[in-house]
Symmetry: C2
Subunit: 786 residues, 2 copies
C-alpha cells in the first residue's frame, strides 16, 4: 500500500544519487550473489579433504558443576572414533582462563549448560555424534547462578571461581574496544559479589540538581533476554595441518581472518606465520564470528595431524555460541515543562554469562548519545552468571539501551503532552555539540535531526491518525504508531589494500577483509570511482593471511568507512600508474588523459586511445618496458562519524490475544553517502527484520537450574517472512568528512531503534507500556489485563 | 686437493663480500631448506583431496601414425576407471594445433613415440594404469622422420601435416622471446622441405672477404643429442574444480604461475579469474616447466568436475616431456696469424621434434656473443621431426652452440699455435663493444675478460703441465686441461612486489614468483638490505594468482636481476613507512632514525627507541592512528646485463677404454654482485654438474623408427656423485648498472661452457677432437682408434 505514496520500494534497483559520481551511488548487484543464488558458493563445512575427521562436542548438561571423572574409553571403542580430547589432552598452551576461545574445553568445572568438556574426532559426522554420546562424564553439581540481580548480591554464590584480582578482565572485545573508556571515580555504597566483574560510570553535571530542575520525571525498568545472531551458517571451521604439524591451513567461518590467525597462534604457541587462514565465503555473522571455536578445532587438528572439521549443529550453536547479553536497565529521565531534557539517571545490568565481555561502558555511552542532557548519572554492571558467554551482535548493547531510552522518552512526552517528534528534534544531539559524557571532542556532522525531519514529513507520520492505509483485516484491531531514534558510534580499524591490473584489462582489488553483506561490492564501487572505470571491470579478491594486505574484521560498521579509504587510495594509485604508461605510449600529457570505458583516451583527440588490455600487455610480459600496475592503499581513519537512524512503526494489536502485527515500517538513516544504495537498503531491511525479532519474538529462556529451554528454532522464534512488513528505507546523506565520498557506517543502526519504535507503537495502540522484550502475545495479553 | 691452493670450498658458508652491505653478500641458508631437508615439503602430487581421481596417459607406441580407431570401452569396464577422454571429448576449445599444451591429445595423427592419445581417470593410480593399458587404439603407420638433415631435404616426407602458411609458427617461447629477432633478408639457394619450420640468419660484414683475410681456417661439425632436464619431481599437477565448474584451483609444478593461469584459461575459454593457481614448492624445473600438461589435466578435471591429479612417471616424462633440442652445427672460424678472429661462418640445425620452438635465432646469437668478429654468416634451421617437442633447458641452445664454438676456437688456437687463454682474451667481447650481430646497442660492462683472467691466474691453469695434483690412480691415464668460455644474455620480465609488516615485528615479502634454487632467499636478502633489517626477520610468501603481485616465471636467469628490483623497491617503501610512524611516535626527524636489529632508534640518543612490534601494534588495530605498513615495489628492467663464465677442466682419459674422469674443475663466473654467495655457488655446482651430463653422459637415443631407446634412468645416464669432482667456483663481480646492488643473472651460465671445456681437455689429453656429445667411453674409444 505504500507504493501509493510514491515511495521507492525494493524492486527499484538503479539510481544515481549524485551526478558527480559514476559508480558510487549507483545501486549495484552484489558480486557474491550469482554464486550464492546458484548454489555454487562453498563454505567452511563444504571443502573436500581426504582423511577429513569430523568433530563433535561433548557439552555439559549442568549449568554449574565440578567434573569428578571422565571416561573416554567407551567413545574410543566405537567404530570410526579416532580421538577424544579433553582440556588435559587438547594441547592448548595458553592459560588465559578468562578467554573462552583460549580455554575452549572445561577445566575441572563447567560454567554453563552447554559448556564443552570434550571434543570427539571420527571418520563421519554420525560416528562423531555417537562418540560424543558415549563419553562418560561424572559431574558434582554446584550452586547455579541464573538471575543477574541475585548474582550481584554479596551473598550470592559465584558463577565461577574468581578473585578480586582479576576483576578487570575482559574477554572477547572485538568491536567493543572502540568506544571503551575507563570508569570515572565513583564511590559505590553497595557491596557486590565477585560475580560483578566490571563496572562503568558516566557522570556529568549534578544529577540531583538536574532532577530538581525537572518538572516531569519518569522512570521504568526494562528487561531483555539473550538474543542469538542466528546466522544461517552455524559456527564452522575446517583445519588442515601439515603432517608434521609445522604449519596449518585454516578455513574458518569468521569475520576476522587476522584475528583468527592470532587466536590460534596464541593457543598453540606457534608463530603467526605458521597459521595460514584462507578467505572464504561466510553464511552470516552479525558480530558473532569474531573468534570462538577456532583454537579448539585447530588444537584438535594439531594433535591428530589430520584435517579436522567442526561445524556446530544449530542446537550446539544456541547452547554454546555467543549471543547478545541479557540486560536489566532502570532509566529515569527528567525534563522541564518546555520539553528540555535535563536529567538522565540509570542503572544498567549486563548479564555476561560465564565470561566477561559485555562492555557496560559501551551500553552507558549509547544511552547518553542521542540527546543533549546536562546532568547525567549512569552506572553499568557486568555480571557473571551460569549462562553461555556473550558476544557481539549487530550494534552490541544498542538495541537494549535504545529500547530503554526511547521507551522512557515516549513516556516522558506523554507526561509532558509534547509530540514525541518535536521533543526529539528539540533535544537531539547535533553536529558541533560536545559529547554528553566527556564534553570533548565535539561531534562531527550528525544526521539525527535530518532523520527526524524525514520521518516528520513522511505520510505515515503525517497521516498517523488516519486508518486509510490499514488493511481491512486489521480494522478491528487497535492501531498505533511509534517512533524511536538510535545510533551507533562506529568502529575504526586501520587497513591496507592493493589494486592490480589484469592481462584482460580488468582490475583486481586485493583486501584482507571478509566479504559480508556485500562489502566487497562496495569496495568495487569505491575502486571504480577511484579508477574512473565501470565497476563491472573490477574483481575483489582475497587470499590468505600469508599475503593479504592487513585489515581488521568485517564488523562494527567500519568496513566501508575505515577500510574503504585504503581501497580508494589503492585505486587512485593504480590509476596514476595506468595514466603514466598511457602518457608515454600515447605521447600525451597525463593531464590530457581520461579513462573511458576500458581505454585511456586523449581528451579532444578522437581516435587516440589505448586499451587497458594493451597497457596490461605492455607492463606484464617478457622484456616489458613498464612496471606492472600495482596500486597500494593505506588508511588509518581514527575519528568516528556517528550514524543515526529514526524509525517509524505502525502496528495493529489484537486486544483479545495480545498478538501484534507490524503494518508499516519506515526507517530513515543517515548513511553519509550511500556507496551502493541497494546494499544500504539491504542492510536496513535486514537490520529492521532482526530488530523485529528482538522486539516481538526472540529471547533465550532459562529455567531456575540454568537449563536453556530454547535450544531449537522451534522454541527460539525467529521472524518469518509473514512477520515482516514492507520496510521503507529512507537514505539520508549528511556527509562524513572522513569516510570515502562522505560515507558513514551503515550496518548496525538499522537494528537499534526497532524495539523502541514497536514498543512505542504498541503503547500508542493500546495505552500499555511493555517494558520487557520480546513483546510476545502472552506478555502483551498479560499487560492488557492490568 | 685443491684446498692446498687456498681456494674457498663449499663448507665455507658465511662471508661478506663488501662491508657496505649488511645482508647482501652474506652467504645465507636457504629458506626452503629446513622443510625440504626434514621431509615437510609437500608437492603438487602430495596434496590430499577427497574424491581425488588419478590420471594416466595413453601414449602412442608409434612415432608417426594415423589413428584409425580408438575403443575406450575396455578401459571403462575396469574397476575404478571413471572416465577416458580423447581429443574429441576432452573439451579443450583452443584450436591452436601448433601448441602442444593447447592440443595435448593427438588429433587424428600421432607425431612421436610417446604422443598422448587419451587420458584415463580412475580412483587409484594403479587402476588408472590398468585403464590406460586397456584403451584399444588402432594405428596406421606413416613414414617416420627421424634424422633432421634428411628431414630438411625437399623430398622428405613431412613429420606432420603443414602448409607454407604456418611456417612462422612458434610454440612454447618462454625464455626465448627475450633475444629473438627477425631474420635478415637472405636468399636461400637450397630448397627445403616444409619440415623446416623456422630459419634465422646473422650476417654482418662480408664473410667471403673475412675468410680471404684469414690466415688459418678451421671447420668442424658438432652433434648433440636431446637432453632432458631431469628434475627430481616429474611434471605434476593437481586440479580441483568447483562442482559447478565455474572455477578451479590448480596446484601445478611450474615455473610460472601466471602463465599456467593463462594457458588453462585459453584452453577452456574461461576468464583468467576463473582459474586460481596456487603457489607451492616445486622439485626442480631447469626451464622444463614453463607449461606443458596443465591444460590437459585442467580440461579433464573440468569435464569430470572432480579433483584430478596427473603426475608423470619417469618414463612418461622422458617420452612426453620437453627436452633440449638435438643440434647439428657446422662452424668455420678464420683468424689472422696474430690471433685476430676475422670470420665466422656456420650452419646450425635445431631438431625441434614435432612442435616448433627451438629458436634458431637464439642459437645463432649465442654463437656470435663471445668474441669480436667483423665478418659473420650464420644460418639457423629449425626442423620438425617425429620426436618429442622440445622445451627450454637451462640456457637454451647455449650448451650446444658453445660446445661448437669453443671446440672450434680450441682447434683454431692449435693451428695458430697460440695459447687458448691468450687468444680468448685477445678476441673477447668487452663492455662498450657493439654487439656483433646488430652493431648496436653497445654492451654494458661485461665480465668475460675478468673471468678469463681469474682462470689465467688460477693454479690449475698455471700448473697445467704439472701432474702433481693428479691422484695416483690416474697417473697412467692421459691427463689434459681445457678451457671454454660461454655466456647468456639474460631474460627480463616486469614485476611487482609487496612488503608487509607483521604483528610480531617481522616482515613478509609477497611476490608472484615461484621459489626455485633459493630465489626466495635472495629476495629476503634484498628486502633485508632495503629495510635495513636482518634477513632472519623476513619471510617470503606466495599465495595464488588471484591476489599476488604480478611477476613472470622463475627462469631465464632473471629472477634476482629483473624481479629483485621490485622487492627492493617494496622494502624501501615499507622502510619509509616504518620510519614515518616511528618519527611521530619518537618525536624525532626521519633523518635521525635508524633501524637496529628489530627496533627503530634515534641516532645519538641512547635508549630512545621503538620496536617494530610496537609500530605494528600501533598500525594494525582497532582505532589505530597509523596505516598498516604495506610497501609496494614495481620494476621494469628492460636492458640485459649479459653474464659470462669461463671454465677450466682437468681430465684423465683411460687410453685403453676411452673412459673419462674429470679430476678438477674451476668455474669463474661474473655474477655482478653475489646476493647470496652460497646460493650462487650452489648454482655453479648444479650447472656444472648438469654440464658434465651433457658432456659425458646424457642424450636421447632413437632407433630408425623413431623409438626412444632411453626411456628409463638405467638407459638415460645422469651424472652420479662419483662422476662429479670438487667444483671450485670463483665469483667475479663486475657490477651491472641495472641489477639490484649490481647483481646479474646467475643460473644459466654455469652449464654453458662445460661440454666445450671437457672436450678441449680431452683433446689436450689424447690429441683427438670428439665432436659429438655425449662423449661416452665408447665414442671416445672409437675416436682413439683412428
Amino acid at each position: 500500500m505504500l507504493e501509493s505514496w510514491g515511495i521507492r520500494a525494493m524492486k527499484n534497483m538503479t539510481q544515481t544519487v549524485d551526478p558527480t559520481f559514476a559508480s558510487v551511488g549507483t545501486s549495484t548487484r552484489r558480486l557474491d550473489a550469482p554464486d550464492k543464488l546458484t548454489g555454487r558458493t562453498r563454505y567452511a563445512g563444504d571443502l573436500p579433504f581426504a582423511g577429513l575427521l569430523h568433530a563433535r562436542l561433548v557439552l555439559s548438561p549442568y549449568a554449574h558443576a565440578r567434573i569428578t571423572a571422565m571416561n573416554i574409553e567407551p567413545a574410543l571403542a566405537l567404530p570410526g572414533v579416532v580421538a577424544v580430547y579433553t582440556s588435559q589432552t587438547l594441547g592448548i598452551v595458553s592459560d588465559d582462563r578468562t578467554s573462552r576461545s583460549q580455554t575452549p574445553l572445561a577445566i575441572d568445572e563447567v560454567f554453563w549448560c552447554g559448556h564443552p568438556v570434550a571434543i570427539v574426532l571420527a571418520e563421519t559426522p554420525e560416528e562423531a555424534e555417537d562418540g560424543a554420546a558415549a563419553v562418560d562424564v561424572d559431574y558434582e553439581p554446584l550452586p547455579v547462578v541464573v538471575d543477574p540481580i541475585a548474582a550481584m548480591e554479596s551473598s550470592s554464590p559465584l558463577a565461577r571461581p574468581r578473585t578480586a584480582d582479576d576483576a578487570s578482565e575482559i574477554a572477547g572485545g572485538g568491536v567493543h574496544a572502540a568506544v571503551s573508556s575507563g570508569p570515572a571515580h565513583v564511590v559505590e555504597t553497595t557491596e557486590y559479589s565477585l560475580n560483578v566483574c566490571n563496572k562503568a560510570y558516566k557522570q556529568v553535571g549534578d544529577i540531583e540538581a538536574g532532577l530538581r530542575e525537572a518538572d516531569v520525571i519518569v522512570e521504568h525498568t526494562y528487561r531483555t533476554r539473550p538474543v542469538h545472531q542466528s546466522y544461517l551458517e552455524t559456527q564452522s571451521i575446517t583445519v588442515v595441518p601439515t603432517p608434521s604439524g609445522h604449519q596449518m591451513t585454516v578455513w574458518p567461518s569468521t569475520q576476522g581472518m587476522f584475528s583468527v590467525r592470532a587466536d590460534i597462534a596464541e593457543a598453540l604457541d606457534l608463530a603467526d606465520r605458521q597459521i595460514r587462514v584462507e578467505s572464504l565465503p561466510i553464511g552470516g555473522a552479525f558480530g558473532g564470528k569474531f573468534g570462538l571455536i577456532e583454537p579448539l578445532a585447530a588444537a584438535a587438528a594439531y594433535q591428530i595431524r589430520k584435517p579436522v572439521r567442526l561445524v556446530l549443529t544449530r542446537q550446539e550453536d544456541l547452547l554454546a555460541g555467543n549471543p547478545a547479553p541479557q540486560t536489566i536497565i532502570t532509566l529515569k529521565l527528567g525534563a522541564k515543562r518546555d520539553g528540555t531534557l535535563v536529567a538522565m539517571q540509570g542503572k544498567a545490568i549486563f548479564d555476561t554469562g560465564a565470561y566477561a565481555g559485555a562492555s557496560p561502558d559501551l551500553g552507558l555511552t549509547l544511552l547518553a548519545s542521542s540527546y543533549r542532557c546536562p546532568h547525567i548519572d549512569l552506572r553499568g554492571y557486568e555480571v557473571l552468571t551460569n549462562k553461555v558467554g556473550v558476544g557481539a551482535y549487530r550494534a552490541p548493547n544498542a538495541p537494549q539501551a535504545t529500547f530503554a531510552l526511547e521507551s522512557t522518552v515516549a513516556e516522558l512526552c506523554i507526561e509532558l503532552g509534547i509530540d514525541p517528534l518535536v521533543f526529539r528534534k528539540q533535544n537531539a544531539l547535533r553536529g558541533g555539540d560536545p559529547t554528553n559524557t566527556s564534553r570533548t571532542p565535539q561531534y562531527p556532522a550528525l544526521g539525527l535531526i535530518e532523520c527526524l525531519e524525514k520521518i516528520e514529513h513522511h505520510p505515515l507520520w503525517q497521516q498517523r491518525s488516519s486508518l486509510d492505509a490499514v488493511p481491512a483485516t486489521y480494522k478491528d484491531w487497535k492501531i498505533g504508531t511509534g517512533i524511536a531514534a538510535g545510533g551507533w558510534p562506529g568502529g575504526l580499524e586501520t587497513a591496507a589494500a592493493a589494486c592490480r591490473l589484469e592481462k584482460d584489462g580488468t582490475l583486481t582489488v586485493v583486501i584482507g577483509t571478509v566479504d559480508l553483506t556485500g562489502s566487497d561490492t562496495s569496495m568495487a564501487l569505491l575502486a571504480a570511482e577511484g579508477l574512473g572505470l565501470s565497476s563491472s571491470l573490477i574483481t575483489v579478491a582475497h587470499d590468505s593471511t600469508d599475503t593479504m594486505p592487513y585489515s581488521g574484521g568485517t564488523g562494527g560498521s567500519k568496513t566501508v568507512y575505515s577500510m574503504g579509504p585504503a581501497v580508494l587510495d589503492a585505486a587512485r594509485d593504480a590509476r596514476a600508474q595506468i595514466l603514466s604508461v598511457a602518457s608515454e605510449l600515447l605521447e600525451a600529457a597525463v593531464e590530457d588523459l581520461e579513462i573511458e570505458k576500458n581505454e585511456v583516451v586523449v581528451r579532444g583527440v578522437p581516435g587516440k586511445s589505448l586499451s587497458l588490455k594493451k597497457i596490461a600487455a605492455a607492463s606484464m610480459r617478457f622484456g616489458g618496458r613498464y612496471a606492472p600496475v600495482y596500486g597500494r592503499g593505506r588508511a588509518a581513519v581514527h575519528t568516528n562519524s556517528p550514524m543515526y537512524a529514526v524509525h517509524l512503526a505502525q502496528v495493529a494489536v489484537d486486544p483479545e490475544t495480545g498478538e501484534v502485527c507490524v503494518l508499516n515500517y519506515v526507517a530513515a538513516q543517515d548513511v553519509g553517502r550511500a556507496i551502493n544504495p541497494a546494499e544500504v537498503e539491504g542492510q536496513i531491511y535486514g537490520g529492521v527484520t532482526q530488530g523485529l525479532g528482538w522486539a516481538l519474538l526472540e529471547g533465550f529462556e532459562y529455567d531456575e537450574n540454568g537449563q536453556l529451554l530454547t535450544t531449537t528454532l522451534m522454541d527460539y522464534a525467529l521472524p518469518h517472512s509473514y512477520d515482516v512488513p514492507t520496510i521503507i528505507p529512507i537514505l539520508v546523506e549528511v556527509p562524513s568528512a572522513m569516510g570515502p565520498f562522505g560515507a558513514k557506517g551503515v550496518g548496525e543502526p538499522p537494528v537499534v531503534p526497532v524495539a523502541g519504535a514497536i514498543a512505542n507503537a504498541i503503547r500508542d495502540a493500546v495505552g500499555k507500556r511493555v517494558t520487557e522484550l520480546p513483546i510476545t502475545a502472552e506478555r502483551l495479553f498479560t499487560a492488557l489485563q492490568h
